[in-house]
Symmetry: C2
Subunit: 425 residues, 2 copies
């Protein structure tokens, strides 16, 4: 399903375009991170991205800039091509499009010299071009590199921003200098338009559409979108704050325990936060997820307060020697079984004296499947101190990496459910 | 540094454009995976991507298609907007651009009916539009969804391909139907143009440029590119096969042990392959990498043959109880120390009877740093049976996730070095 912007957006939001230069992006070697980051910054400022373009530097950037301006978005953000080398041509392209000549800023020259001195590097003549800008442009300080950015007002209130390519330079420059300019020149058209995301684990896109999505679309001017990943779907709503709020309770009731997290928060962040609030400790025993659950939990700053230990027990020996899973249990039920999953969870919980433990055992594939237990079979157990261990059986045939992620997500969602029950009791 | 296509490319390669529809991409909620995948498929077919565009569906897709065709790339690949809903308008847009009317394919209607029957779903009238196509177009079978793709020849040998949005439908359709058409209609201009990537760990971009990059650029018509990540850089060369080969030995000598892997292979794939060849077993004891090394190793199919066990020993108790690191050692040197890293590696190796073991201990941040051991400090140890344990001290202040990845990469590179020495001895 594709999706165009709903009417409510066209009335209430402004349009931005983003233009990136990057040969390694066009060769497929790196994944663009500018669009996801910038789009999420722009939305709360009242902007949606109307178009995103990647071109190689040189002539193509000039044409792309010309075309973007002809579409009259209120702002155009350009990244890359501000460096000192001969193929860095974004500044020159802007000047050509504007029919003007670049001028040199003595202030910028001094700033570049100072920055190089601090880093004990010498000033190379080619760096001089980084101080060039169209007449009347604002120069944006670069606190993490030598090339300043450029903010250029065009005609009746359109702005072009030239930003450096590396995210560690672009992001602070955007936050420190572009955001204040946007706030000054483009006040929000409607302060009440918000976005709400419900991340749902264990229900498919069409099930969510059936259960609640169609009803929302038919009875409101909310823009409804879905983004499906294996065993997980984002339900995305955009609309007036009060309208979204009026649907919230119904959506929560409908999704129930399948609702795993909200507003793009990662499930590991939610889980670590809940555990920290309750001062509860967790450990993990992983087979088929291979350390991914531990790695995701320890991605969260502050995880060390609640995360005790993880064991990646890939071999049967590790399962019995380290986690105390009886050898006979593995022999009679197989390593991929509900019984072994439960024994792994209980084993690591006791071993590490944790309040909770998660365990996974399954067949990630592509090899290792049998007719009885095909690739995609998985058992997830959660043990809790003083409670019976729960176990979930999942069948998710997909790629190895998608399987690992989907199982880790399902496991964290199961932990959430158990946590909720423990808190209630 | 930006980079335009080198002359050798413009002479020897064809240009493709890629056009995606996707509101969730433009909102920043999902990261585009089509460009990286398609670009890597297209290169060996003799194509480079000249432009990549994302638009919302509806009118914008029509304009973007029109503009793309006006630039006359030899092929245009469009993804998304082929579904049954009213905002799926890619087919209609193509017809409008071509100034023609869509016609219905009875064969496609039957295929859709059959596919729905197999999935035990019923035919909804709105699905009928998925069988529409411009007159004279080829329909591309969709083996993983209902909407067929469209291949349309335009004028003197330009082609437009409309492909479904979900990667699990787009990728097989591209491989099964688009690749054969491309091979038939666009024979490679120069079979000798290849791409070569050297992934270098522990040397910066400017160091590599200094050591070898500039020399290559000055003395050949090879296109040289760099892509830097924390503690890691890809050196990317594009040019004639024999020219690249003539530089290969010199590049290897210059990079030495810093050369971690080649041609976009992941370091975990290289390591698992080497271990499997030598029938050697590995275990991992992780503190600051939190399970990421285990997770990366177990991402590789066949890892179970060589990967025995991982322990994520986040707490001091786990380090001493599970890995046998003496409590006094932690007390006297601190958990983040060379001594503890070595003891962790030796502990897990003996515990799991593995040939090798990797251990990491460090301060990922953002909190937890001290003046003596600031955020970014890390010790990486590799223990090998019958050899002295080696330890590397690294200082990498960056974000938590980037730190974890860079340390995992540096650790796998250190394992490679130890493996090389063991093989030689």
């Amino acid at each position: 399903m594709a999706c165009c912007f709903a009417e409510v957006n066209l009335r209430s939001m402004r349009i931005a375009e983003i233009l990136c230069t990057g040969t390694e992006l066009l060769l497929g070697h790196t994944v663009d991170r500018h669009l996801p980051w910038l789009a999420r910054q722009l939305f709360p400022l009242g902007f949606r991205v109307g178009r995103f373009t990647i071109v190689p530097d040189g002539e193509p950037i000039k044409f792309a800039l010309q075309e973007a301006l002809a579409r009259k978005p209120e702002i155009v953000l350009v990244s890359g091509g501000l460096g000192p080398t001969s193929d860095d041509l974004t500044r020159e392209s802007l000047a050509e499009v504007l029919g003007t000549q670049l001028v040199e800023s003595s202030v910028a020259i001094e700033a570049i010299r100072k920055r190089l001195q601090e880093r004990k590097r010498s000033f190379i003549p080619s760096m001089r071009k980084q101080a060039l800008h169209p007449p009347g442009a604002l120069l944006l300080e670069n606190n993490f590199g030598t090339a300043p950015g450029i903010a250029q007002k065009i005609g009746q209130g359109y702005w072009v921003f030239l930003l450096p390519g590396p995210p560690r330079e672009l992001q602070p420059m955007f936050l420190d200098y572009v955001v204040p300019l946007i706030k000054e020149y483009f006040p929000k058209k409607d302060d009440q338009i918000i976005e709400k995301i419900y991340t749902v684990v264990g229900l498919g896109e069409s099930a969510i559409e059936e259960l609640i999505g169609r009803e929302i679309e038919a009875n409101s001017d909310i823009e409804v979108g879905y983004c499906a990943r294996p065993n997980e779907v984002d339900l995305r709503l955009i609309g007036k704050k009060n309208v979204l709020e009026s649907w919230d309770a119904k959506i929560r009731n409908t999704l129930g325990d399948h609702l795993a997290c909200e507003d793009g928060l990662k499930l590991e962040e939610v889980v670590i936060k809940e555990l920290r609030q309750e001062r509860l400790k967790i450990s993990v025993a992983e087979s088929c997820t291979g350390g991914l659950i531990a790695s995701r939990l320890t991605d969260v700053s502050g995880a060390s307060e609640v995360f005790v230990c993880g064991v990646v027990a890939y071999s049967n020996e590790a399962k019995s020697n380290l986690l105390g899973v009886p050898v006979e249990l593995i022999a009679s039920h197989g390593a991929v079984s509900q019984e072994v999953a439960k024994a792994m969870a209980e084993g690591i919980r006791k071993l590490t004296k944790s309040d909770f433990a998660i365990a996974t055992t399954g067949i990630a594939g592509p090899s290792g499947g049998t007719p009885q237990k095909p690739v995609g079979t998985c058992f997830i157990a959660v043990a809790a101190n003083g409670k019976p261990t729960v176990c979930l059986s999942v069948y998710l045939p997909t790629t190895r990496e998608a399987f690992k992620f989907a199982i880790s997500q399902t496991a964290l969602n199961l932990l959430q459910k158990v946590l909720k029950k423990v808190k209630k009791s």
